[in-house]
């Protein structure tokens, strides 16, 4: 079992100028569970996810990781960069566009954080990177540069880069949206393995199948508001809210043959 964090989101608001991107979000993410954020594009799911590691600065409210607020020492008082980096080490993130560093090989991508952030000696970082890459099934691709990897392989390297840091919480921002359909499966498989090991995961996704089978809870967002949080079966199969019904109807129509 990995050590797993909990996340508590309380009354979080976020503005881009006059536009309110998040409105009074309350969400509690239990340790060792998988929470999927779904909803139409532009609904604020990615913004909310990015508030959890403070890549996006929320304007009011609190985001607590294991009881400690991230980004602010007290409401309105920004945390020091050093302290923020300390907290971020415990949070892994996987991006829609992979964001691998193109000038480094797969193994160097994974080892970079271990060397520069965790301060491990190069040899140890390299062997841990190799182990993380083995775990995502890329033992034979370690010396490749990202440009020589398929999208699915790149995304698995990105996952290895995150898990090598031994995080207690993993954030996934539409990890399969930039992939060709036939490459989605390999990434979801790795994510399922991670979930079964008891990692706390927050996943923004359009893969309703993944949400239905892997998530412990599903949160539906629309227009910057959290509409409902519940067990996947309740949200995906018997939604009460009309907004969820209409979203799922569109989704099913698009995916019907």
């Amino acid at each position: 079992m990995v050590q797993a964090s909990s996340v508590e989101i309380r009354k979080v608001n976020k503005f881009y100028g006059p536009f309110q991107a998040l409105t009074d979000i309350d969400l509690s993410i239990p340790p060792g569970k998988v929470t999927c954020l779904i909803g139409p594009s532009g609904s604020g799911k990615s913004t909310l996810l990015r508030c959890i590691n403070f890549l996006e600065e929320y304007d009011s409210g609190e985001v607590l990781i294991d009881g400690q607020m991230i980004g602010y020492d007290a409401p309105g008082k920004k945390m020091s960069g050093r302290k923020l980096r300390e907290m971020r080490r415990g949070i892994g993130m996987v991006f829609q566009q992979f964001n691998l560093w193109p000038h480094m090989t797969a193994q160097e991508n994974v080892a970079e954080g271990l060397i520069r952030v965790r301060g491990l000696p190069k040899a140890e970082a390299a062997s841990r990177a190799a182990e993380a890459l083995r775990k995502v099934g890329l033992a034979d691709r370690m010396a490749n540069h990202p440009a020589r990897l398929s999208g699915g392989q790149q995304q698995r390297v990105a996952i290895a880069r995150a898990i090598a840091m031994e995080p207690k919480l993993m954030l996934f921002d539409e990890p399969t949206s930039a992939l060709d359909p036939e490459l989605v499966g390999e990434v979801l498989t790795v994510m399922k393995t991670l979930a079964s090991e008891g990692m706390t995961m927050v996943v923004v996704t359009h893969e309703m199948g993944f949400a239905a089978h892997v998530a412990d809870q599903v949160a539906f967002m629309e227009a910057g508001e959290l509409v409902a949080v519940d067990a996947p079966s309740r949200i995906l199969h018997q939604p009460e809210d009309a907004r969820i019904q209409s979203f799922l109807r569109t989704y099913h129509e698009r995916n019907a043959f």
Partner: protein, 215 residues
Amino acid sequence: MFSIPTFLESFGPLAMAARFTLLVSGLGIALGLVIGALVCACALSKSRGLRRFAAIWVSFLRGVPLLVQLLLMYYLLPVVGISIPALAAAVITVGICASAYISEIWRGAIGALPPGQSEAAEAIGMAPGTIWTRIVLPQAVVMSLPALVNELILLVKASSLVSMVGIMEVTRASQAQAATTFRPLEVYLAAACIYLAINLCLAGIGRWLEHKAAV
């Protein structure tokens, strides 16, 4: 009639003078790289004052013709009581002028990196200094190489203007040669050939670098 012997004979003295063409443009780009890095740092800094300074630096040096800059420096130095050799003054002027273009090249290369690159580093808790030295700069430098080679080619051509402040480089030497031989066509064509040879070599290096960077 076009005299081929005169044309060929011109190459000797002109090739000797090419040392100074290479010296002015080579030292000019080296100085430009250093000052350009500083100006680029100012342009990207959080301080409004520094950004304003960088903007004025770049706009002035790109707005004023190099020939005017050279003459300005040539006449300004004695007035403020600085006496340095003409060659040094020319190199400094060319370097300062190049710094404006180089700082823009670097700013462009840094701006062209997808922001996700730094975000991914931030997300694993990398410190800002480390993100610069490990993620941003290595990529930006490689990306900017072809543009920097191009800038060097521009400098080789621009260095012909330092002939106007008395530096005996290819252009000045060809003027002297033309005056003694009374065969300006042959001599100036020979000078053109020398510039062309230098620049074709540089362009070849540039293409090779671009190819390497793309792999």
